[in-house]
């Protein structure tokens, strides 16, 4: 019984990392049909955001609240990756709709640019840049409420850019002084330290539940529920689904399809940022961290059925449990008296490398039987 529970928990733990990483891609690739190879790098930005937020929480003023940095990090990471995604969609992706090959190459290029960006630009300046972009975007919204500015749009636009630039430079300068670790660019991996409560385990008799894993499972459930609510219960979700099903008709009915595209991509990218916060609890944060997850993300989305959220949930849970059952050699524990010949076979596959091989082989088999994934659904498929 304990064994079954332990295996299920481990499966859920592995699956939840896959799912939270793939959730954003399920929207971007699944609903919009955009093959975004920079998805992993958007996660990487989320992970770096965690590091920056954490550095703020190490300042004397916020030090007492250090344990709570992760809640702030989730929100900020969503905004950082979401904003980068938004800019990416407006500048690159939107010119390439319906051209999957070009999109693939372009987003791969973007992923290299983002990797090099974090290597060569000090985090203090990146933070300043992001703040400036946020102010420049939010400026007109706030300024519109002031009667004097509403009359003079050029002044409003100019004003927001000036204010944004000033805020960015000031913030970057202040961060350089206050947090010397962020002042210098580094290609080295950074050290994201979880607070004490996030590092230990929860003891249940002779079984310890790792708290970071519990937090990630919780975060994943939250994210899935939020995405479900957003897509199925909110106005913009309705518009997104409408555009997914029939773009021309939606356009005729007055849905701003370009805004919908930007929003969808932004939300998908923002979710990648949240995933970045999650994986920073488990592993290392460096420029290459995205590459470790991107294949898994596509695997989950393709196996689950492109365009189907529940498909992604089932697929990631399945991959998680299988990885644990094979990789940790659970069969040997359940059935210790298995025939010697069989036991040798099971032992041969009970290593992490072989488990990966076997899981991939099984996915290939499943896709042979069900080429459109476990739960196929019709999507826009990039409006071919």
């Amino acid at each position: 019984m304990t064994l079954l529970l332990e295996s299920l928990f481990n499966g859920a733990a592995i699956g939840s990392v896959l799912l939270i990483a793939a959730l954003g891609l399920a929207i971007v690739f699944g609903l919009m049909g955009v093959i975004n190879l920079a998805h992993g790098e958007l996660m990487m930005l989320g992970a770096y955001t965690t590091y920056v937020v954490q550095s703020f929480f190490k300042l004397p003023l916020l030090e007492p609240l250090f344990g709570g940095y992760i809640f702030v990090a989730v929100v900020v990471a969503f905004l950082v990756s979401g904003l980068v995604g938004l800019l990416l969609e407006r500048s690159v992706i939107r010119r390439l709709y319906g051209r999957p090959l070009e999109t693939l190459l372009a987003t791969w290029g973007v992923s290299l640019i983002l990797q090099q960006f974090v290597r060569t630009v000090p985090l203090a300046w990146s933070t300043g840049l992001w703040l400036a972009a946020m102010v420049a975007l939010a400026g007109p919204l706030v300024g519109n409420r002031l009667w004097g500015l509403r009359q003079r749009p050029w002044l409003l636009r100019l004003g927001s850019w000036v204010v944004a630039a000033a805020v960015g430079v000031a913030a970057a300068g202040w961060i350089r002084g206050a947090m010397p670790k962020l002042a210098r660019a580094s290609a080295r991996n950074v050290d994201v330290t979880a607070p004490r409560w996030l590092r230990g385990g929860l003891d249940l008799g002779d079984w310890t539940l790792p708290i970071p894993r519990l937090v990630i499972i919780g975060l994943t459930i939250l994210a899935v529920v939020a995405v479900y609510w957003f897509l199925n219960r909110s106005l913009w979700g309705l518009r997104i689904r409408a555009v997914t099903q029939n773009r021309t008709m939606s356009d005729c009915l007055g849905i701003p399809t370009q805004t919908v595209d930007a929003l969808t991509f932004g939300v998908g990218s923002g979710l990648a940022g949240v995933a970045g916060v999650a994986v920073s609890l488990l592993g290392s944060v460096g420029p290459n961290v995205g590459g470790d997850y991107i294949v898994g993300c596509f695997m989950v989305v393709v196996l689950g059925g492109v365009g189907n959220l529940w498909g992604a949930v089932v697929a990631s849970a399945g991959i998680g449990v299988l990885t644990d059952v094979i990789g940790a050699g659970r069969l040997l524990e359940v059935w210790p008296q298995m025939p010697a010949r069989l036991q040798q076979g099971v032992e041969f596959f009970a290593t992490t490398s072989m488990a990966r091989v076997l899981v991939f082989a099984l996915i290939v088999l499943v896709l042979q039987v069900r080429p459109a994934g476990l739960f196929p659904q019709r999507g826009r498929m990039a409006e071919v």
Binding site: N10, G200, D203, G283, G291, T323, G327, T352
Partner: protein, 397 residues
């Protein structure tokens, strides 16, 4: 300072790509050593003082590029010596180049052994100068002495060779290996491995870790959250975690675990302190020194001593002269042995909460290197000796 002549040496490390983070530090210390030698009068050959200059090429973390750049340094730049490499893969790529052109490579990293080229000097540790003493320490003296072992590594040649040796060694010591697993490169999902360790070592034990770079971060973070901590009698001995890595993983995850090296920054001798202070003065107060850097520093000095002893830059004369050369290195005295490796002191360190090592044991003087491992069945009974033309690369003892 006035010099009579100049001599250009080759430096060939990855300055870009994945390995750049680690390898660029070697290039830094090699230049530091060269500048120190120049400041002390350069290299003297035939009564003429030579200023050392360097020609640097970028291996770009790409193994064929290493071979190509090595060719360029030898043929076009005509350098008498190349200091270079980090990964075994880069060394294996350069080896045929140096052998076919009868040129000279100095390679600074601790590695899996089982190689003894006529054209390479290896200044890093062989397994009997790092892995074997480390395993013996875990089995006999560590807090988990006598308990079973679990071996974890990245899935490539160094961890697999190193663990084959460890298993053979533990068998002869009477220790027990209850499991081993390898994480594919680029994969950071360590949950199944953690589950296996838990099952295989219910009451704690020793874990020998040969994971690579980033994978260590995932491994140590999740070991801790799964409750496999030193307080619960799970001690990890790592072969690739030095001061620089502690900084990126975080000391709070590594505290009380072990590492084995020839040099630690914490070594409390004037030579060691002078080395670290010189490095900090040149490259920044927040920098740290570690074993691969010390090894890279030593090899420049060894080459200088070899050249002066041979009184020539000629490769073959230097090769012969170099054997038996000694140097008072930051780690203590070292000597070049006939098998082109170095005798070195072995130390076991325990990570302290402030991110340094506390040195627990130090070997009684330098340990002689074994190019061919004596636990691994395929090389047992063999040795290497380039000072005797009849013996050479691999002969039966």
């Amino acid at each position: 300072m006035e010099f009579d002549d100049t001599v250009a040496v080759g430096i060939l490390h990855s300055l870009s790509g994945t390995m750049a983070i680690s390898e660029s530090t070697l290039s830094e210390v090699e230049k530091m050593a060269i500048e120190e030698i120049n400041a002390a009068g350069g290299v003297t050959v035939d009564g003429k003082s030579h200023e050392i200059t360097w020609i640097e090429e970028d291996g770009a973390s790409d193994w064929p590029t290493f071979a190509e750049k090595a060719k360029k340094l030898i043929d076009q730049d005509q350098v008498p010596v190349v200091f270079g490499g980090w990964t075994s893969a880069s060394r294996k790529a350069m080896l045929p180049v140096f052998e076919s052109k009868d040129a000279f490579l100095y390679y600074p990293i601790q590695y899996e052994g089982q190689e003894c080229s006529r054209n390479i000097f290896y200044t890093g540790a062989t397994p009997n100068q790092q892995a074997e003493p480390a395993v013996e320490f875990m089995f006999k003296e560590s807090p988990v002495a006598g308990k079973p072992f679990f071996l974890v590594g990245s899935d490539y040649v160094f961890p697999r060779t190193s663990n084959t040796i460890t298993k053979a060694q533990l068998e002869s010591l009477g220790g027990e290996v209850v499991g081993e697993d390898y994480l594919p490169l680029g994969n950071t999902e360590v949950a199944p491995i953690i589950a296996k360790i838990k099952n295989a070592l219910p009451d704690g034990g020793a874990i020998i870790n040969t994971l690579n770079g980033d994978q260590n971060v995932a491994f140590f973070k999740q070991m801790q959250s799964a409750g496999l901590t030193p307080e619960n009698d799970y001690y990890v001995m790592s072969f690739s975690i030095a001061e620089v890595e502690i900084d990126t993983i975080g000391p709070e995850y590594l505290a009380d675990h072990f590492a084995a090296w020839n040099f630690f920054q914490a070594i409390d001798t004037p030579a060691s302190q002078k080395f670290t202070e010189a490095f900090k003065a040149k490259y920044g107060e927040d920098r740290v020194t570690n074993d691969p850097m010390e090894s890279a520093y030593n090899m420049v000095y060894l080459w200088k001593a070899g050249v002066e002893k041979a009184n020539s830059f000629d490769d073959n004369l230097v090769r012969e002269a170099l054997i038996g050369v000694t140097f008072d290195a930051p780690q203590g005295p070292i000597e070049v042995m006939p098998n082109h490796h170095i005798s070195q002191t072995v130390r076991i360190g325990q990570v302290t909460p402030d991110g340094q090592f506390e040195i627990l044991t130090t070997s009684d003087g330098p340990i002689a290197p074994q190019a061919w491992n004596q636990f691994e069945p395929s090389s047992k009974g063999y040795a290497c000796d380039w000072s005797d033309p009849d013996k050479g690369e691999k002969y039966l003892l």
